[in-house]
Structures are given as structure tokens and as C-alpha cells.
Subunit: 332 residues, 2 copies
């Protein structure tokens, strides 16, 4: 099947698919964050999205684009969690069967949620197994749709609806962003945001934020070609450990003129504590990297108006407790 | 000074004062909560309000009603925390001095926040001191405005703006509540909600939710007269430990025909875990009692449309960690 070229029009079509199914999540401001950065920062709270992350947007957009005939054959996805949850939710809404290939060490909360959504789960070992092979074999058997976690025009378009909402909500408040910070794994969300922003009169700076050591997108954007990460494990940000930028996502971000920064696990933990104390929101590590970048001055925000994504909140109780313990009591 | 009679018109005027100063907080739904209750439940996320609770609404409405001359003499309040924070915030926005009388055992986060907002803090001992005396003496000295924590028409009207927003947002979604559950201490929020709902074509059932052992409002509404709590300490819900219903709040709730229920500390902890896992929001114990009432079937919600308040999120890290530890891992 040849793929449709991803454009802002495809993002707008995705927004139509999502209407009434998913949430237009709130865009919030924090006095504490504004004071700390010296800018005016809008926070897109996708942790309050259905299934606890933005991922359900792309999953639903992808499946909504297929024919009823195709949907009858089910969907297969491989994912450390949030994409899988999104696929499971979207499949249930469209009365489809979903099979998820998940790593054995996926956060317990994500496994439980996927199972509650009625998905069949096949586990693999991150160190030895090739999840893509497992998934493709499963899909081939029944002719199921494969839902890639980021490198697909309709997935990218679905995630990009986040930025349409940001722009619309900011316009309603008489504001427009100078800078947009986006949490980045394989680049599905970031590329979708780039598409959605591409026809703005005044194009904001777009900055991808990744975990330190997994900043393949930042290095690729700097190098002008896709480069890989050296390792596959070792960050607290389980949801952002893609091996390299996508073949479709990277050119979109490169063409937009995006750049990338990275944050340490320690900065991510501090951002999670900040979200707890100041925002009253629960963020998973991968959902807190943009906030960490703002808090720790990775991007100049003084005097700027910016928007950033709080992309997910599916974090285990045990990890969250450890993060709270790792900081000084009652201050981030 | 004679007090204005609290009416729905005063609530509407309060909403005008608050516009552009405070947040119209999001009204959220949770698939998990809908499934568990069998109803359609809308959650008013006041934990995302400025200063982390609804209390700033009443405080700002009260001070905005006074003359610039009166405001120049500052404001005094006594509060275990959230009301004090609201007063401190409102005072800062109106360029006033604020003095807070706070218990020595107030949650550390609330003391820190009040101090960061520039308030002067005077500590007292819950067991031995009369905070009202301390506060009145301080106010008399400089002719300052006294900001009662609930029993004042303008405080009540300010809190009632929560319900105006609930009704408006639900109408936009084509829904209207059969039942409204409100977290209740002295009854300021509950009475304000009653006023705001009083001119609805179809008046919803209004239910106050209190901590077990501190259900003075529930017992007063049942008895038709104000009765006191036997004790003043011993609940996890630090923000809901008023000794008795207010002289102004009680008649409003009684005239509306409200009733009350109570929840145990264990049920409150489970609700806080539910908010963490399913809503991705941080609730303080007192802010979680309405959710606890819905989760544990204190009010029949099957087949009903309901709204409830998540009233605050100012909880210490240590207490929050203990609450997470007190439940089974990763399920509420």
C-alpha cells in the first residue's frame, strides 16, 4: 500500500475523526513556571487524555482512515505501552480486535490498562527478541492492520491534532507561541506538530526534547541525516526509547527547521516533582521531558511565549513514590 | 457592617470579579469512574485552580467587593491552609497586605506557598489557642478586613462560581446534572453551589460530602438545626475540619433541600489513589471526599448524570507517598 503524503490537511482530517471520541485536553498556565522561566508558558495536558497519553490520537486517526472491511481483520501493534494503549482504546471504539506486542518489563500499569481494554497481549524480551518480527508474523496470519508507533502519515497526523488545539486555544486567549517544546521518541508527535504549525503566519521555533543518551533526533537534526542511539536501555523515560528517528518523521522535522535538546534523568525527576507540587498533575518520566527542558533552561524562554506538551501520565506507583522520595520534601 | 443577603445574583457578580483573574478549570470525565458507578460523572478539577484549590475564588470575590480605601488596611484570615493561600493570592493580585493565622501542624506545602505569596504568617496551637481571637486582635490593630473562611455572603458567592462553570460547561456538552456532590467543611462551597443551582429549571439533588466523624453538616441537615462535631482532630482531611456548619451556610443548604453523606479515611485514600492512577491528578485528602463518595456508592449514581468537585491538591509529598503505599500496587 502506498502511503499518503503527510500534510497539514491530513492533520485537519484527523482532527475531524477525533471529534467527539477523544478529548480536547486543557491548556494550562502555571504562575510558578512563568516566574521560574521568565516567559509565558502554556502547558498542553495530554496526561488528561483518554488512556493517559496523546498516543490514542494517532492510533484512532490511523484506524479511522481504513475501510470497515480492513478493520474487520483487526490490528496489531508493538509498543512499550502508551501507543499500545491507544491502539487498544481506538480498536475498542471501532469494534475491532487488537493484539499488542509488549516488552516483559513494560510498566505494570500499562499492561493492566491494555488488558482491561480487551487487547490480546504477547510479551517479548527487549534484549533478545525482535518485536517487529513478532508483530509482523502475527499480522500476516490474519491480514490485520499494522499500527506503527510513529512512522506513518496517519499516526503523525493524529498526534499533530495536539498542536491544532494548542494554536486554537492560545488564539482564544490572544496569544501565539514563539517556541513550542515537544517530548520526542521516534518523532511522531513532533512531526505532527511540525505539520500543524507549518501554515502559521509566524512559524514558532520547534524544539524536540529527548532523554540524555537517547537524543537521536537532536543529533540527526544537527547532522542533517538520521543517526542512531548507541544504547537501547538505561533511561527512566521508558516511553521515549526509539532507536532512531523515523524515515517519515525526520524529513518533516528537518524541513520545518526544528532543533533538539536533551534532559537528564535527574532533571526529569525534578520536573515530575514540580508537576506534582505546582501543577497537581501526575506525569510519567517520558511525559515530563519538555517541562524539564523549560525548568532547566535548555531553551531560552525569558520574555517568550511558549507552549509545551505534558504528554503522558502512566507511571507506576512504586516509581512515582521513588521520584517523590528522591527530592527535597515539598519543594521541587 | 450589615451583610448583603447571598443570592444567585451575588454569585454572578462574583463570577464577573473573577474573570481574567482566576481559572475556569476543566470539567473532565473518566471512563473508569463512569464504568464503576454506572453513571455519567463530570469532575470539576479545582485542584488545577490557582493556589491548588477553589478557595481563592471566595477570597478574591470578598476583597474585590470592598472599597480601595478598605483594601488599603490589609486583610487578616485564619485557616489551616487553602483559604489562607486564597487570601494571600487575592491580596497580592489586589496589592494588599495579608496576615494569616495558621495552625502549627498545617501541611508544610501550604505554609511554604503562603510565605511565597508574600503573606505574614502567625502560628497558633490547635489544642490551646483560639485562632479567632488571635485573628480579630490582629485585625483590630490596623482596621484590616477579616476574611472568614466560609461564613460570609461574598465568600459563599465566590465559591459558588464553581457551579456556574459546571452548569455552563455541561450545557455545552448537552448534559445537565441529576446530582451534584460537593466536598464540605464549613459549607462555603456547598452553600455557594446551592445558590448557583437555585434558579435551574430542574434543580439537581445536592449532596455534601464530609469526613466520617466530622459530618456535622450531614447531621445538621437531617436534624433541621446546626449540630457540632464531637472532636476537632483525627481525620486525614485537614481542610474539612470545621466545628459546625456556618450560621449563613446552613440555612442556604437547608432551604435548598440538600442532604449529606460521609466517607472514611480509608475511602479517601482509595480515592486519592484512583485520582493518581485513573485521572492523573493529585488530590489532597479533603479534595477527594466527593470522589470517594462516588467510588464507594454513598449516593446512587447508576443511570444518573452527576457532577462532583475535586476541590484541592495541596498535599505533602510524605503524606502522598504514604497514601500510595497504603494501597495495592497499581490498582486503586
Amino acid at each position: 500500500m502506498s502511503l499518503e503524503a503527510p500534510t497539514v490537511q491530513v492533520v485537519r482530517r484527523a482532527a475531524k475523526h477525533l471529534r467527539g471520541v477523544l478529548r480536547s485536553t486543557p491548556l494550562l498556565e502555571s504562575d510558578a513556571l512563568n516566574a521560574r522561566t521568565g516567559g509565558r508558558i502554556f502547558l498542553k495536558a495530554e496526561c488528561l487524555q483518554r488512556c493517559g497519553s496523546f498516543k490514542v490520537r494517532g492510533a484512532y486517526a490511523l484506524l479511522a482512515e481504513r475501510t470497515p472491511e480492513e478493520r474487520r481483520r483487526g490490528v496489531v501493534a508493538w509498543s512499550s505501552g502508551n501507543h499500545g494503549l491507544g491502539v487498544a482504546y481506538a480498536a475498542r471504539r471501532l469494534a475491532m480486535r487488537a493484539t499488542l506486542v509488549m516488552p516483559k518489563d513494560a510498566p505494570a500499569i500499562k499492561v493492566r490498562m491494555a488488558s482491561e481494554l480487551g487487547a490480546d497481549i504477547v510479551f517479548y524480551d527487549r534484549r533478545y527478541d525482535n518485536r517487529e518480527e513478532i508483530g509482523k508474523t502475527l499480522a500476516d496470519e490474519g491480514g490485520a492492520i499494522i499500527a506503527p508507533s510513529y512512522d506513518h502519515p496517519h499516526i503523525i497526523a493524529g498526534q499533530g491534532t495536539v498542536a491544532l488545539e494548542i494554536i486554537e486555544e492560545m488564539e482564544a486567549m490572544g496569544a501565539s507561541p514563539d517556541t513550542v517544546l515537544v517530548c520526542c521518541g521516534g518523532g511522531g508527535l513532533a512531526a505532527g506538530v511540525a505539520l500543524a504549525l507549518s501554515d502559521q503566519m509566524r512559524k514558532p521555533d520547534l524544539v524536540t526534547v529527548e532523554p540524555a543518551g537517547f537524543d537521536d533526533m537532536a543529533r540527526s537534526l544537527a547532522a542533517g541525516r538520521r543517526v542512531r542511539n548507541d544504547v537501547m536501555t538505561g533511561s527512566i523515560c521508558d516511553s521515549l526509547l526509539a532507536p532512531e528517528p523515523g524515515a517519515i518523521t525526520f524529513p518533516i522535522l528537518s524541513a520545518y527547521g526544528a532543533s533538539g535538546v536533551a534532559v537528564s534523568d535527574e532533571e526529569v525527576r525534578a520536573a515530575m516533582r514540580f508537576a506534582f507540587l505546582e501543577l497537581k498533575m501526575v506525569l510519567e518520566p517520558g511525559g515530563a521531558v519538555s517541562l524539564a527542558a523549560a525548568l532547566f533552561g535548555k531553551v531560552p524562554l525569558k520574555g517568550k511565549t511558549a507552549a509545551l506538551t505534558l504528554t503522558g501520565g502512566n507511571v507506576d506507583q512504586t516509581l512515582f513514590r521513588r521520584v517523590l522520595e528522591s527530592g527535597p520534601p515539598d519543594s521541587p
